[in-house]
């Protein structure tokens, strides 16, 4: 009986060992079987530029500046550059990253964007006088890699200064 018990225990341990070896592999993780793209845009802020002039900056959780428009007028072309954790400016590379936004009240301002004109460029249209906000995002395939704090858009009948 003792020998039979040992034989059964030995068979169990061998079986257990086979299962453990088969299971202890990176490929056995169900996520790794699905995951293909780990390249995230590691933005922690952004700058919005009108030519070489800095209009709005979002860095270390603080927004400075605002976007100012005239009603029924189109803004100049803005460029958006992202700020990495180490402070470097960059635009996300590759086709997997796309520019996205959300305007809180589209009866005040609207986005004019065409990727063909420049993937990280945009214009705004003043629709009616008022104040609203716009939130800029970087989308990566099917999720958002970056969501910034809302930036204020002021739309007035007249705007001081020249475009």
């Amino acid at each position: 009986m003792f020998k039979r018990s040992c034989s059964l225990v030995n068979k169990f341990i061998i079986t257990l060992g086979l299962i453990l070896v088969a299971g202890c592999s990176q490929d056995s993780n169900p996520l790794k079987a699905k995951e293909t793209d780990h390249d995230h845009a590691e933005a922690a802020g952004f700058q919005i530029l009108n030519g070489s002039d800095l209009v709005v900056k979002y860095e270390q959780g603080v927004v400075t500046g605002a976007l100012t428009l005239q009603a029924n007028q189109t803004s100049p072309v803005y460029n958006i550059l992202f700020i990495a954790e180490d402070g470097d400016l960059f635009t996300p590379a590759g086709d997997a990253h796309t520019f996205a936004w959300e305007i809180a009240n589209t009866t005040i301002a609207a986005m004019i964007y065409a990727a063909a004109d420049g993937k990280w460029q945009f214009k705004l249209q003043g629709v009616s006088t008022g104040v609203t906000t716009i939130t800029f995002k970087i989308n990566h395939n099917d999720h958002a890699d970056f969501v910034g704090l809302p930036v204020t858009i002021n739309v007035a009948n007249t705007v001081p200064g020249n475009y």
Binding site: S5, T15, A22, G23, L31, E35
Partner: protein
């Protein structure tokens, strides 16, 4: 090269290994000659009604120390063979009847016959009647476990394990919508209150975040046990809150003498929910087979303030197992799968106005071998193994992936059950090994990592006259290795970490007289941080947070104390418990109040370790008022503080309780209960106050036999006044209150 071949052939290899394991076992078992066998004992018996003397069918008989159970036939007869000789505790479970505990002494090569007489059970609590054993000792009732089965299980059966046991004193549930609910005991949750299935780790992520559901479907559970004190250390070193074990017996460990099973159907109106499930046990020659399956569907939940959007659930799960029981012991294997999809309601701070969907799947394979011995010191040897593969995705309302997780968990355990010697009983020495492969994806900066855990433990009971003592010691070592070592501005230096620690517990129970038990327990626990607490970084959409780990966290150690007094006489029972849990380096994610730079729509939650104290009181009573009328009540209160900061701990439930009035008549029980809670204004940072409430419910239970079938019907109307109320531990309480009026009908038939 060999390893790469094995990787590709993992599944077929596992199947071949199982066949290789079973064929010789069958050959030995089927052809071996009884001579020279281990001397085993057989327990036979008959169950009858204490008042009418009629036989009672479909009673579940549990031989506790052997962890063997069987359901008697429709005539109340049962037979359990292949048991070791010795002294055992036999317990019964049957709806409509009180559980009976009887001590029996089994002799080798002998059949012991017993007659169990069960009184009717009108009371809410799982009454346990102790029958004096042959030696006259009555100490066998002293087990630090709370059992939820039969009538109570069917009455409270919910969508989750947490909802099902929420009505016990000291137990609350952490929720984030109806699906991702997890039990909280005395303010302790997560890893400090592991949820197991058949004593095994389930390998999900429910302990790490409020939006992650437990991958156990309660409808096919046989019973739910809450184990505390020294016994809990057998399952882990971090069990300061205890262990919740869902017993399903996926691997049959008793030979079925006849076909049996059950089927359950439940409908509830509050979310147009429907669940169907069943299990079936069949003798297959020398083997016993068991299968179970269930399917659940529910839509958005209704509250007095309107429907809570995106709270539907769809779940399907099943398992199959086969066991062999012979004179040398038993062996078996089981496999199962669980698939679920559920919704998380919209973010109250507007980050996800249409909520988040979670899709999860789990597959598992487990095996067990138990061998009896005739050794002087060792009664039997048990080997267990489990393999679990878990995956879940968190999807935004437009279908975009937020995060996904993959976890592979492998465990192996060896236990030596010790012979009873003199005053020492029910001892065991065990060793566990666990391997865990964790990975996250989508927008996640949490590195993949592997965990290795080794543990060795010892448990023993001793009994002398009217005093029972139990104690346990445990040592754990945990090693966490990230895929890549690197420095992170937020998390710190991500590197290999290792943790060592010990846990210990002792309990003493004193019976100054038959109707009174005085108990005291002390417990020292050790909990190493996990991958998520150390290295996580990234948005967690479904939890409305941006999680940041702390690579420098140290292990958590807790010291718990508990004293209780229980009085029981005739059909009356009263129990009072005082407890105190002091935790050094209590690890928890703290809302910093700041928005993430990367995801400014989410608040940053950072893991910290602080010194915490949780203390409180629990009380419960069941009282026979008059004829067939009974009353029950329970109360639980936890006072939680950050000791040195002199601030309240977050997510601590308020004073909660339950009052009940019950009427029983033959096979019929009617009752009214009121769940009460005080306001919670002891709040953590950024927590909101919750008002108190009193929620009445009605229930009716009826059981009847038709031919060889036992049928039970439970009708419940919870919150029948449709009162609007909020639970303090509900993460979405700001969005919507708790469910409104709900009619539930449960039908269960035993075959």
């Amino acid at each position: 090269m060999i390893k790469s071949i094995l990787k590709r052939m993992a599944i077929p290899l596992t199947g071949i290994a199982i066949i290789l394991y079973l064929i010789p076992a069958v050959t030995h078992a089927a052809t071996s000659v009884p001579a020279g066998n281990i001397a085993t004992a057989t327990l036979q018996g008959q169950v009858s009604d204490a008042e009418s003397a009629e036989t009672i069918g479909f009673v579940n008989i549990l031989v506790e120390e052997a962890n063997r159970s069987i359901t008697c036939d429709e005539n109340g007869a049962f037979c359990l063979s292949g048991l070791s000789a010795g002294e055992f505790t036999v317990k019964t479970f049957r709806i409509g009847y009180q559980s009976v505990v009887k001590r029996v002494i089994l002799q080798a090569n002998n059949t012991t016959r017993i007659v169990l007489t069960l009184p009717k059970a009108p009371l809410l609590s799982p009454d346990i009647i102790v029958e004096a054993d042959r030696a006259g000792s009555t100490s066998s009732i002293i087990k630090p476990a709370l059992l939820i089965s039969d009538r109570k299980l069917y009455q409270n059966l919910g969508k989750t394990i947490a909802e099902t046991i929420d009505y016990e004193p000291g137990i609350s549930q952490r929720t984030m919508g109806p699906a991702p609910a997890r039990p909280v005991l005395r303010g302790l949750d997560g890893d400090r209150l592991p949820v197991l299935e058949d004593g095994q780790i389930i390998g999900d992520l429910s302990a790490t975040s409020a939006d992650h559901a437990v991958v156990i479907e309660p409808v096919t559970a046989e019973r739910i046990e809450i184990i505390r004190g020294p016994q809990a250390l057998v399952y882990g070193s971090n069990t300061l809150g205890g262990v919740v074990n869902v017993a399903r017996h996926s691997i049959p460990n008793s030979r079925a003498e006849h076909r049996s099973g059950s089927f359950t159907l439940q409908n509830e109106t509050v979310n147009r929910g429907l669940v169907a499930g069943g299990d079936f046990i069949v003798p297959l020659g020398v083997f016993t087979g068991r299968v179970d399956a269930s399917i659940r569907r529910a839509y958005d939940i209704n509250t007095p303030a309107g429907a809570l959007p995106n709270t539907g659930i769809a779940t399907i799960n099943g398992s199959a197992g086969i066991g062999l029981v012979k004179s040398w012991g038993n062996a078996g294997v089981a496999a199962g799968a669980f698939d679920s999809a559920y919704g998380i309601p919209p973010d109250p701070n507007g980050g996800h106005p249409r909520g988040v969907d979670i899709v999860m799947e789990r597959q598992h394979l487990e095996s067990r071998l138990e061998v009896s011995t005739d050794n002087r010191f060792i009664q039997r040897l048990e080997l267990r193994q489990s393999y679990t593969s878990y995956y879940h995705e968190e999807l935004e309302a437009n279908g975009n992936l937020g995060m996904n997780f993959g976890v592979v968990t492998q465990t192996g355990a060896v236990r030596l059950y010790l012979q009873n010697r003199g005053v020492f009983k029910n001892g065991l020495i065990g060793m566990n090994g666990q391997y865990r492969d964790f990975a996250s994806g989508g927008l996640s900066f949490t590195p993949a990592a592997r965990e290795l855990l080794y543990a060795i433990y010892y448990y023993r009971e001793a009994e002398w006259r009217n005093v029972q003592f139990s104690g346990a010691l445990r040592y754990d070592r945990k090693i966490i290795t990230p895929e890549e070592e690197k420095y992170s501005r937020n998390t710190g230096f991500i590197r290999k970490r290792s943790f060592d620690g010990y846990a210990a517990s002792a309990s003493i129970h004193y019976l100054p007289m038959r109707s009174i038990i005085i108990s005291a327990t002390v417990l020292r626990t050790f909990r190493a941080p996990g991958v998520e607490e150390l290295f996580s970084e990234g948005p967690h959409l479904a939890a409305y947070s941006y999680d940041i780990g702390n690579a420098d966290l140290q292990a958590e150690t807790g010291v718990g104390m508990e004293v209780s007094t229980e009085y029981s006489k005739d059909r009356n029972k009263l129990r009072i418990t005082l407890f105190r849990n002091h935790i050094d380096n209590y690890l928890l994610p703290v809302n910093t109040g700041e928005k993430s730079w990367r995801r400014a729509d989410l608040y940053v939650y950072k893991y910290l370790g602080v010194t915490a104290l949780m203390q409180g009181i629990e009380a419960s009573a069941d009282i026979h008022i008059y004829h067939n009328f009974y009353t029950s009540w329970s109360l639980g209160y936890v006072y939680g503080d950050f000791i040195y900061l002199k601030k309240p701990l977050p997510r601590i439930p308020p004073l909660e309780g339950k009052l009940g009035l019950h009427y029983t008549l033959t096979n019929f029980i009617l009752g009214c209960t009121v769940n009460i809670a005080d306001e919670q204004n002891r709040l953590g940072e950024f927590e909101k106050r919750t008002a108190g409430y009193a929620i009445p419910s009605l229930y009716l239970q009826y059981y009847f036999s038709t031919g060889s079938l036992l049928n039970t019907v439970t009708i419940t109307c919870s919150n029948f006044t449709n009162t609007e109320y909020r639970q303090h531990l509900n993460r979405v309480k700001e969005v919507m209150p708790e469910p409104g009026r709900n009619f539930k009908i449960l039908y269960k038939v035993f075959l």
